[in-house]
């Protein structure tokens, strides 16, 4: 399992209802179904991923997140997940509001653009950072709304969103005392557990 998913799963209650936005190949939902008896539904647009979900028996709906989530009822899920998808959305702030309308709590993970490597890349080369983790050039990247840990904190304050837990990890998803001390500088992936105030 992807290591950020390893961390996420700890925040999900057994027997709860989970909506996974951009569920990929469905591996997290499948894991939650089999280990925690979670009732899950994933949304996905990639055909291969959808096929993988069906193959392992995960409920999946072909739906584009950019077209909104108005077809989901308020408070109809316990947890709504958004893993590594925030930066690819056309209106990420609206989607986070929608997550907290539909779920009692939400979990968001995203690549932290405030990491020192991105800062150094931009500062030293004067070009948009390209790395193993963010391999796209500026013109063909699906990632159109990068943000930093500090940016996300600010959004949560503006929208009255309560941060239940926040952790940052490196690409191997290891945390450390120094990442906890300087999350925006040292964290490579940010993981937030949020709810309404």
């Amino acid at each position: 399992m992807r290591p950020d998913l390893e961390i996420i799963q700890q925040w999900i209650e057994p027997n709860s209802k989970v909506l996974d936005l951009g569920c990929g190949d469905g591996s997290l939902l499948h894991y939650l179904q089999t280990t925690k008896n979670v009732h899950g539904i994933g949304l996905e647009i990639d055909e291969k991923n959808i096929q993988n979900c069906l193959r392992q028996g995960t409920n999946v709906i072909e739906q584009n997140l950019d077209e909104g989530l108005s077809n989901f009822q308020s408070a109809s899920f316990d947890t709504v997940l958004l893993a590594q998808t925030l930066q690819a959305l056309s209106k990420p702030d609206n989607l986070i509001d929608e997550m907290l309308r539909i779920g009692k709590n939400g979990i968001v993970t995203f690549p932290n653009f405030g990491n020192w490597k991105s800062r150094l890349y931009l500062a030293s080369r004067g070009r948009m950072p390209v790395s193993k983790f963010m391999p796209h050039s500026w013109y063909n990247t699906p990632n159109i709304h990068f943000c930093t840990v500090r940016d996300f904190d600010a959004l949560c304050r503006e929208r009255n969103i309560k941060v239940l837990a926040r952790t940052v990890v490196d690409l191997e998803h290891q945390g450390s005392w120094y990442m906890r001390a300087w999350p925006n500088l040292l964290g490579e992936i940010a993981i937030y557990h949020i709810s309404k105030q």
């Binding site: 193959r55 409920n59 709906i61 072909e62 077809n71 989901f72």
Partner: protein, 400 residues
């Protein structure tokens, strides 16, 4: 039949007849005192009886869904693309049950059957049957076949509507509902096309108010016209362009530019004859259909479509209809289907989500229009196959 039976065919099959003597009260309030259903099955029922799949047919379908009836058959059953050993509905894994619905004209009791009360053809006296009536009759068939639960009920178009009715009326007898290219109810446009079809039949001078069989005739022209109109709604514009745009004329350099306007003979007649391939095709389809299908059955089937509305008992709220449907759902739609377009399937998906049901949904990119559900479209077949493999694994677990 092809020269040799393909390895992934169910091979030669023969239908069986099930007779029912207990009267069936229909949605209209009328009672069918007795009736018979003609059925084909493919694949073996396992010892624990957990691997049965019901196939529900659409407007002009019947029980002959797969394989060949005899050596002379030029074509296999109507859903042979999906049913067979190793196919999406895998007869190595499942016991597949396919029937001709009540009111049909392929062997089950319908307008062309003899009314036991009069000794004459039912004809126009055959009561209007609804999707609900069909499902009730399918439930009786299931009991007679001693099948406690369907691993899945599967159908496309009008067949998909029967799937929804199963999930609403008898969820305890269905583990998975697979509803393809369907709609929660017909739109005014859908009903309008059906009415054109019906009117063309009933206004044929050989219709004789539905009593044409006694007169040794049938409303051939009306039935042809009905089928021609229907056929147009099954195909998409792009499908027609591809189908009838194969030849290159002098002024049109390639098929995509000739808009499917292939000529039949190469020249225009400057008369009112058949000039274009598409005309010839529609005539052929209409003609073939009119020779094999009963006009009264066509009227009944289109009425069953028009009347389908599972929300009538639930204050118009489809999600309430699914309140107890605790089976799992798979829905699929096709991008160029303008008869039951993807939005119609989404209405069903959204109602299921609102009802808190477990549902998967795929929107398949396909040029073939509504007809796509009958065709071997790779993504569609792979998805159905993957889903049903999982259904089979679960039926194994249930058996263990």
């Amino acid at each position: 039949m092809p020269e040799s039976i393909p390895i992934d065919s169910v091979g030669l099959v023969s239908p069986q007849v099930y007779k029912f003597d207990e009267p069936l009260t229909l949605r209209s309030g009328k009672v069918l005192p007795n009736y018979q259903l003609v059925v084909e099955t493919y694949g073996e029922l396992n010892a624990s009886k957990t691997n049965a799949i019901l196939i529900c047919h659409a407007l002009s379908g019947d029980h002959h869904a797969a394989g060949y009836h005899d050596e002379e058959d030029s074509k296999p059953g109507w859903w042979d693309s999906c049913i067979g050993p190793g196919k999406a509905i895998d007869t190595n894994l499942f016991h597949v049950v396919s029937l001709n619905n009540l009111g049909g004209c392929a062997g089950s009791t319908g307008p062309a059957s003899i009314n036991p009360e009069t000794g004459q053809y039912y004809g126009p006296d055959f009561p209007v049957v609804t999707v609900r009536d069909w499902v009730n009759s399918q439930l009786r068939l299931m009991d007679k076949m001693d099948i406690p639960e369907w691993a899945a009920v599967v159908g496309g178009s009008l067949g998909g509507m029967q799937v929804l009715r199963w999930a609403i009326s008898y969820p305890e007898r269905v583990r998975h509902a697979v509803c393809i290219a369907a709609a929660p109810k017909l739109s005014a446009q859908n009903i309008a096309f059906n009415e054109v079809a019906r009117h063309s039949i009933t206004s044929d001078r050989n219709f004789h108010n539905g009593r044409y069989l006694e007169k040794g005739t049938y409303p051939k022209q009306g039935l042809m016209l009905a089928r021609m109109v229907g056929h147009i709604t099954y195909l998409s514009d792009s499908a027609m362009r591809a189908k009838f745009g194969k030849s290159v004329s002098d002024f049109e350099q390639n098929s995509s530019e000739n808009f499917g306007r292939d000529l039949r003979t190469g020249t225009l007649s400057f008369g009112f004859n058949v000039d274009f391939q598409v005309e010839s095709y529609l005539h052929y389809q209409g003609e073939r259909f009119s020779e094999n299908f009963d006009a009264n059955t066509y009227l009944l089937m289109t009425k069953a479509l028009d009347y389908f509305d599972p929300t009538v008992d639930f204050e118009g709220d489809l999600s309430k209809a699914f309140a107890n449907s605790d089976c799992k759902f798979l829905l699929m739609s096709f991008s160029t289907d303008w008869r039951f377009p993807p939005e119609r399937s989404r209405e069903i998906v959204n109602a299921l989500l609102k009802a808190g049901r477990e549902v998967s949904y795929l929107e398949i990119q396909a040029d073939q229009g509504h007809d796509a559900f009958l065709l071997a479209i790779p993504r569609y077949i792979e998805a159905l196959s993957a889903y049903l493999k999982k259904v089979h694994e679960q039926s194994d677990q249930n058996a263990a």
